[in-house]
């Protein structure tokens, strides 16, 4: 699947995360990101940049918080999904 074609929220999040953290890093919907080695402030900034590029929008600062970025599943469900469906602008 090309990166441009990914529109399923979780797949999109995992794709961006793998680009940031490395393709070999095991990630699943419930992976606790803060426990993943290398997930630091620079990785977070790169993840946010990557998501914004893919979504074509600037994410609201209030959504870039630990509760949302705890797992790929939460990012997909609370941020990317609503953004793709136009619920978040």
């Amino acid at each position: 699947m090309s990166s441009q074609a990914t529109t399923e929220p979780l797949a999109l999040v995992l794709e961006v995360l793998h680009a940031v953290l490395g393709a070999d890093v095991p990630l699943a919907a419930d992976t606790e990101l803060l426990e993943v080695r290398g997930f630091d402030s620079m990785a977070l900034a790169a993840l946010v940049d990557g998501l914004e590029d893919r979504l074509g929008m600037r994410l609201a600062d209030e959504l870039i918080v630990p509760d949302v970025f705890a797992t790929p599943g939460l990012i997909a469900g609370r941020l990317v999904g609503p953004a793709l469906s136009g619920e978040v602008s």
Partner: protein
């Protein structure tokens, strides 16, 4: 010991006079001075009984009240402590354990599994049955490994060491900077006068505890009657969460690296809603570029004091300047004038002290200068020089920073002498990263260069040449480095070359590889 330099005693004195004042805030928990003091005295006693003279204690404890209690307890018991980043790779943590050789390793209970090979079986030291406070706030959150083979170091007692801070070393192993009781006490005493706090102040504690910024946060706040608010590792990553923390807790004073402050300015409600309670912002660790600094200051209350502090780990803060329109006028904020009692000079390449105004390598002499590196007399001597000033000979620490000192004593930083860079305020020796890269069996050459982007700030780019037939990918190599070095030392970019360009003398031609863009 000069009583003015006795940090633990000053804390107990304040606790005696303000027993019910809030001392430590973490999550929904607030501990009063009375409670923290009782824990500090209790654990100073138990650690004192468990740790032989000439030994240190390693603290790899997540940011929490137990971490702060143990730091103060060690100071009170006159036992050197070594903070170890719990999130650092195991190899890095082990290197520090091998070098510092602590008699005890205290870790957060939840991280025990991150220490394979250590035997966590000495719960008696935590005294879980002694007192309600210990049972509630300390014992359940900690685990202790007694390291019976530890031999300690004569340096701890001979130099009266308060703590050790490990920084990046140029040869692939971290170096332990010895900080004496006098070094720490002098700094805290000066900082308490220059940037005073008092009851009613809410001091944010942002930087990780293995860094040197918390020496101000923790010890100045808790020897002044202020409340110290611990910002946990999770919150620190998220600019909007950092802002919310500062706002909701009514933080009046904060000390952080520019990268963190700038991230908050750019990715939170700060510019819109401000921080009305904030009356002081201190920054250190890297340059705060003037355009970004103006953005920060535009959203701060007009009366908020902003100051730029400078000093390597080996000296703590040795110069500072208030940041105002005048300081920013030249386009770069100077690092300020020398702290009282500290001599800051520049020297020629030959090591001769220069009369100001002059340009040269910055050297420092004074009571906050570290006695040296643990187990590394060669490095200690390489970074020290003796020189006569005003008729008396002094020992100067060579910072490796180039600077200009004006005739009025104002110091302007110009660059580095060697391969050291700052990533988010952390010191990184490029040689340390190169050593980790070339330790990979398929890498034959490596050069690491600093790069920079307006949004992400400084980071590292690795240029490597692999052995013929190697199947290595950039991601796999980053993973390899990540197993050995802290995350801020892992190159953001990896470029493979057939062979790295060489100079006529056979060295890697770094200038041909770009960098510092």
């Amino acid at each position: 010991m000069n009583p003015e330099h006795d940090i633990a005693r000053k804390f107990l004195d304040v606790a005696g006079s303000l027993p019910e004042a809030p001392a430590l805030g973490h999550g929904s928990l607030t501990l009063a001075y009375r409670e923290v003091a009782a824990l500090v005295e209790q654990y100073a006693g138990s650690l004192g009984r468990a740790v032989p003279a000439g030994h240190c204690v390693a603290l790899s404890v997540r940011k929490s009240p137990p971490a702060i209690v143990l730091m103060l307890a060690c100071l009170l018991a006159r036992i050197p402590y070594v903070p170890i980043d719990p999130s650092a790779p195991l190899m890095r943590r082990r290197q520090i354990l091998t070098d510092a050789d602590p008699a005890l390793l205290l870790v957060s209970a939840r991280t025990v599994e991150n220490w394979p090979g250590e035997q966590f079986d000495t719960a008696d030291i935590l005294e879980p049955g002694r007192g309600d406070l210990a049972a509630r706030y300390m014992a359940p959150h900690l685990a202790v490994a007694r390291r019976r083979d530890a031999v300690g170091s004569a340096a701890f007692t001979e130099q009266d060491i308060a703590y050790l801070l490990y920084t990046s070393g140029s040869t692939g192993t971290p170096k332990g900077v010895l900080i004496s009781v006098t070094n720490a006490g002098y700094f805290v005493d000066w900082a308490s006068r220059a940037f005073p706090l008092g009851r009613g102040d809410q001091q944010a504690q942002h930087a990780p505890l293995h860094f040197d910024l918390p020496v101000y946060d923790v010890f100045v706040a808790l020897t002044s009657g202020a409340c110290l608010h611990l910002m946990d590792e999770r919150t620190v990553l998220f600019p909007a969460a950092v802002y919310r923390f500062l706002r909701e807790r009514g933080i009046t004073a904060a000390y952080a690296v520019p990268s963190a402050l700038n991230a908050m300015v750019r990715r939170s409600a700060f510019r819109r809603e401000g921080l009305p309670a904030l009356r002081r912002v201190l920054y250190a660790g890297e340059e705060y570029h003037v355009p970004q600094l103006r953005e920060l200051m535009a959203a701060l209350p007009e009366a908020t004091e902003v100051a730029n502090l400078y000093g390597p780990v080996e000296t703590n803060v040795v110069t500072w300047t208030a940041v105002d329109a005048r300081a920013m006028a030249a386009g770069r904020v100077p690092i300020g004038r020398a702290v009282p009692g500290t001599e800051v000079r520049v020297v020629s390449e030959a090591g001769a002290l220069l009369s100001c105004p002059a340009d040269g390598e910055l050297v420092v002499s004074g009571p906050s200068v570290s006695p040296g590196y643990l187990n590394d007399p060669q490095r200690t001597s390489q970074t020290r020089m003796r020189a006569v000033a005003d008729g008396s000979e002094s020992v100067y620490y060579r910072t490796g920073d180039f600077a200009r000192i004006d005739d009025d004593g104002m110091v302007h930083l110009q660059g580095r002498r060697d391969g050291m860079v700052k990533i988010r305020g952390f010191r990184v020796e490029l040689g340390d990263v190169e050593a980790a890269l070339t330790a990979h069996p398929e890498i034959v050459q490596a050069a690491v260069l600093p790069i920079s982007s307006p949004d992400a700030g400084p980071s590292l780019a690795a240029h490597v040449a692999a052995a013929p037939g190697a199947q290595l990918t950039p991601a796999a190599l980053r993973e390899w480095v990540g197993e050995r070095l802290p995350s801020y030392m892992v190159p953001a970019e990896v470029t493979f070359h057939e062979q790295l360009p060489l100079t006529s003398t056979g060295k890697i031609a770094r200038s041909a590889l770009g960098g510092a863009r």
